[in-house]
Amino acid sequence: DTAVSQTPKYLVTQMGNDKSIKCEQNLGHDTMYWYKQDSKKFLKIMFSYNNKELIINETVPNRFSPKSPDKAHLNLHINSLELGDSAVYFCASSQRDRGQPLHFGNGTRLTVT
């Protein structure tokens, strides 16, 4: 069974469109995250939710809106897509205790044309 699953795996869309990426974890973790990996492979945290509550919100444009309907799901909605949004987006989960590692999904490769 996949522990952290995100869909879709690939997303190709045009500038100005709105798109969503879904993430689900079956590990029973209380915290979920979105990370962005750019073309240089830099990995940067975007958001973190703990039990449906937003706890980390890095300086991400407000076109990006995370939504957590329950602690097993964290979706990412992006409005008015721009070329610079092209990246691989990774969902991750963990228990919010010291020393607990992140468990990552397979990533969603977003290409904005």
Binding site: S48, A92, F104, G107
Partner: protein, 109 residues
Amino acid sequence: AQRVTQPEKLLSVFKGAPVELKCNYSYSGSPELFWYVQYSRQRLQLLLRHISRESIKGFTADLNKGETSFHLKKPFAQEEDSAMYYCALGGNRDDKIIFGKGTRLHILP
């Protein structure tokens, strides 16, 4: 402020040679350090964490608080070790886990 530095963007090593991937950190609290590996077009996977003090796939890493380092080492490189390696830093419960810029390890035949 939390900071993780991986000074090498690319490291090329011959098969059978020793490997050392450098990681330095800056953190005011008690750090939690991790190494993650990403094989080509795959998800990031946890390789090591300092609290476990274990060896995975022949890799080890020791936290040196005096030098604020957590270098990843392997005595004999194998071709399947070619991948991106990320050092990551966490700490207090309310602090995020941040990643270094990554080092691409290329094992030469």
